[in-house]
């Protein structure tokens, strides 16, 4: 038997408003609530609601044989609660079927795994708590922001108690090995579930509908056939995708939702194939060997590395400035009420998307970056971000100084 492991990423960042240098010291309105609301409402309408409804129907139709996993970031969850409560409700309905698993990640979809271990652990705990409260299950399997992973990061994740991690099946890491098996993390019993990048990208980037007379488009039958071809040479097909692929990146008119709807039936048509959530997959499938990640990988851009967020000087400088601000909080109780706002903002600024917008790559990667960016250019993204960070740092220093003054006068 082999299993299809279908996992969807749900994420929305808090996009910044155009915050000018002249706002520094004068305004604490950092985020573009109007834009964030309209994007969340739009994506809920075009993707989350119709796709959730479709999945729910298919789960019932297939009487438990069809299963999926979701990873929903904290920032997406919050904005859903604010702007699209029905979408959140429909995720709860999916959770109630018992056929849907929710994965763990950082609450803020951050790059903390690369820059600050304590902060990373804190954000993972916050996320797990929220998911448990919202969906009644504590995440057992982890997916880091944009599938960022290395042996070192794996070590921290296993310390946090996760039993498996979703990873990119990067070609240079796998070498001659296949992405269609479960592996063991280096020096650990933690499992690695690789993403089948060709099968996943066939849907994410190469989906085309053949039209009514169906010429050359990707049909669910054809797609299922390419999965079934693996029979005998695979334990697992890891299809990891942005959930927004369905209805948002590919609009409804492309037929992508019908494709998703027909996929379970077509995949289950082969008696050797079934669906498994990540937790089930590691329970039933044995790891074939250990797999070491000496470099940091991710599922982004052609190089599957982290240059999408820290490839140029602006990005590295912004990240340095961001995590330098941490020293301000280091000896301070960041949960103290007077620090709460500054700290929450600082964490929202850690969302990887802010750095993704600053990417200056050209060609194919550049097109994808620009598609997601609300800015006219990476330079606009950098300038706005640095202005906000400057304001936060100044305010935090002030708050800390005041706190110290108050403490001194009380003595």
């Amino acid at each position: 038997m082999a299993a299809v492991c279908l996992y969807f990423q749900v994420h929305q960042p808090y996009r910044l408003r155009r915050y000018s240098y002249f706002n520094v010291g004068n305004s604490t309105t950092y985020f573009d609530d109007t834009l964030n609301r309209s994007i969340m409402e739009g994506v809920a309408k075009r993707c989350y609601l119709p796709a959730n409804e479709l999945l729910l129907r298919k789960i019932h139709e297939h009487a438990g044989a069809f299963k999926v996993a979701f990873s929903i970031t904290g920032t997406a969850l919050e904005q859903m609660r604010l702007y699209a409560p029905q979408a959140l409700e429909s995720f709860r309905a999916l959770a109630a079927t018992g056929c849907v698993e929710f994965l763990g990640e950082t609450y803020y979809h951050s790059l903390a795994s690369l820059y600050n271990r304590d902060e990373f652990k804190a954000q993972v705990q916050i996320h797990s708590d929220h998911i448990e409260r919202e969906f009644g299950q504590r995440p057992q399997v982890f997916r880091n922001t944009e599938l960022i992973y290395s042996d070192e990061i794996g070590h921290v994740i296993s310390e946090l108690g996760f039993r498996a991690v979703m990873v990119e099946g990067a070609q240079d890491i796998l070498g001659w090995r296949s992405p269609h098996f479960i592996y063991r993390a280096a020096g650990s019993s933690m499992r690695l579930i690789p993403r089948s990048f060709t099968l996943s990208d066939d849907i994410a980037f190469r989906f085309t509908h053949g039209g009514d007379d169906d010429r050359g488009g990707l049909t669910p039958e054809r797609y299922a056939a390419s999965v079934h071809e693996l029979t005998g040479n695979a334990d697992l097909a890891g299809l990891f995708l942005d959930y927004e692929t369905f209805g948002e990146h590919h609009g409804r008119a492309t037929g992508i939702l019908n494709f998703l709807g027909e996929l379970p039936r077509c995949l289950l048509a082969h008696k050797e194939w079934t669906f498994a959530t990540p937790s089930e997959a590691i329970r039933f499938l044995h790891p074939v060997s250990e797999l070491s990640f000496p470099r940091v990988t991710s599922w982004a851009d052609t190089d599957r590395d982290i240059t999408a967020w820290c490839g140029n000087n602006m990005q590295r400088s912004a990240l340095r400035a961001l995590y330098d601000t941490m020293t301000l909080y280091a000896e301070h109780d960041i949960n103290a009420p007077h620090m709460a706002l500054a700290c929450e903002t600082w964490r929202r600024l850690q969302t990887s998307d802010h750095f993704y917008y600053m990417c200056t790559k050209g060609d194919g990667d550049g097109v994808v970056h620009r598609y997601f960016s609300p800015y006219e250019s990476p330079y606009d993204a950098f300038v706005g971000y640095m202005n906000v960070l400057k304001d936060i740092a100044a305010r935090s220093r002030k708050v800390i100084a005041e706190g110290e003054r108050r403490a001194a006068s009380n003595e």
């Binding site: 000018s20 002249f22 140029n312 000087n313 006219e376 250019s377 606009d380 300038v383 640095m386 202005n387």
Partner: protein, 486 residues
């Protein structure tokens, strides 16, 4: 094996590439040619003709007057006045050599960037200089030199006007071969071109900017040869609200009568459509090229410049938006009190700009260099931390690309053609001085941002070579003249 469609431009090679069969013959009408130039027009003509000739195109380039120092081995360069005099007769006597005849060069002060009022004013003041020009001292005077040799970054018209002007324009004595009025010059050029070239053999007439449009149209009517007009700038760009109606009419006349119109940017193409009602399908965009500079002297090490230098280099005229540069500076200075704003160039708005700087109390943060060229210009380009081009209306804006070739990042207005060809520039509406200041403060505070801007932009300008422009131009020639072939 296929031959490459084009080879990189090499000014040292001459003649057609070996795979060219029968060369296409182009009669090109221009108004200036380096080194005697007043703006980007002459430089653009040099770049385009060099690359066209490298592709095997035969060019005969005609200007109203030559000065003896032009070098154009890649084509025939001639002077309409040299062979045909106003009445159609041969001019008497040999033309004087450039070195010793400042007076005969005076009439060529007429510049593509002047409207008739400026032309009259300049002529008035120049007459004064003409008298004095016998003195070698004056020939060394930068203002006079600028006027005589032409200049890339702005005619020092204001300095010229500061001279006393006792005589009325009407009474100005003129060289016999030149009219006292710009339009008369244009008309004379038209007559000369038609009488001289109506019987010549060529495939396409290619006319650069409005001064040559009447000649192009007249010659095309006479010979039936197709006409391509090339719009480097429009009267709307140069003069804003104070458009000279007759120049606007000539531009409309030329663009409407041409078989095809070449615009230097989509920005200019839209203007031609809007102002002259030319159908979009008739206008093709051919962006200018640029020659990347290989070596730059490190002026930063030579001289002590302040930590932050922001530069404006260009004619200080309505078109270039110098007042927005000043307003932007007034917003930057409170946050970066050491920043130096260099305003290099001159023009009719300079006194007003200086006055505004004083009024704002920013004199110590400003440096007015006047018109500069050569090493002085290179120094400003290379010590600047950022180059600002806040043009209100800029058909192309080649100086922004030059700044990049000096490793200086640029901020350009969205109302410029250059914004279309270079992605890695900061872009802002010319009127949005708050945004401009925000971007500039951050660029000054963050060297990493300047580094990313420049390293990406340098790669981009490598792609902006004249060969690409030549190939697009050849497509236009083949489109209008099926007989013309490579």
């Amino acid at each position: 094996m296929d031959f490459p469609k084009y080879a990189p431009y090499n000014p040292n090679t001459r003649g057609p590439a070996p795979y060219i069969r029968s060369p296409m013959k182009i009669l090109m009408l221009g108004w200036e040619y380096p080194p005697h130039i007043a703006g980007g027009l002459g430089t653009a003509c040099q770049g385009l003709t060099s690359a066209l000739s490298h592709q095997g195109v035969d060019i005969h380039f005609v200007v109203p007057e030559l000065f003896g120092r032009e070098e154009a081995r890649h084509m025939v360069l001639s002077d309409a006045a040299r062979t045909i005099s106003p009445g159609g007769q041969q001019p008497s006597g040999p033309r004087p050599q450039a070195v010793d005849v400042p007076t005969t060069r005076v009439p060529a002060f007429l510049s593509p960037y002047w409207n008739p009022r400026q032309f009259q004013e300049a002529l008035a003041s120049i007459t004064q200089q003409q008298v004095a020009s016998l003195s070698p001292a004056l020939r060394r005077d930068p203002t006079a030199r600028a006027l005589i040799d032409g200049e890339v970054y702005g005619i020092d018209l204001m300095s010229a006007l500061q001279h006393p002007q006792p005589s009325l324009p009407d009474q100005v004595p003129c060289d016999a071969r030149y009219g006292k009025d710009l339009f008369e010059e244009v008309e004379r050029f038209t007559l000369q071109v038609v009488s001289q070239f109506a019987g010549e053999n060529f495939d396409v007439i290619h006319a650069h900017d409005w001064m040559t449009f009447p000649a192009g149209v007249a010659l095309s009517e006479r010979t039936g040869k197709p006409l391509v007009v090339h719009v480097h700038s429009l009267e709307q760009d140069r003069s804003g609200l104070f458009v000279h109606p007759q120049i606007g009419e000539i531009e409309r006349f030329g663009t409407q009568h041409a078989d095809k119109v070449i615009a230097v940017s989509y920005f200019t193409k839209r203007s031609i459509e809007r102002h002259h009602g030319v159908p979009s399908s008739k206008i093709l965009v051919v962006h200018n090229g640029v020659y990347p500079r290989e070596m730059v002297t490190d002026y930063r090490e030579k001289k002590t410049w302040p930590k932050h230098v922001v530069a404006f280099i260009g004619r200080v005229t309505f078109q270039k938006g110098p007042e927005y540069f000043v307003e932007m500076a007034s917003k930057v200075i409170p946050h970066l009190p050491d920043a130096l704003f260099v305003l290099a160039g001159t023009g009719d708005m300079l006194p007003a700009v200086k006055e505004r700087v004083q009024e704002l109390g920013l004199s110590k943060n400003f440096m007015f260099t006047g018109f500069i060229q050569g090493e002085e210009l290179e120094e400003i380009f290379s010590v600047a931390d950022i180059y600002v081009m806040p043009s209100v209306s800029e058909p192309f804006g080649i100086t922004a690309l030059e700044a990049v070739s000096f490793d200086t990042p640029v901020i350009v207005s969205k109302q410029s053609g250059v914004a279309e060809v270079i992605e890695h520039a900061l872009k802002v509406d010319f009127w949005d001085v708050d945004r401009m200041a925000d971007l500039i403060i951050n660029a000054l505070l963050h060297p990493e941002m300047r580094h990313d801007l420049v390293s990406m932009a340098r790669e981009e300008i490598k792609q902006l070579h004249w060969d690409a422009a030549a190939l697009k131009t050849i497509d236009v020639y083949q489109d209008v003249s099926p007989r013309a072939s490579l």
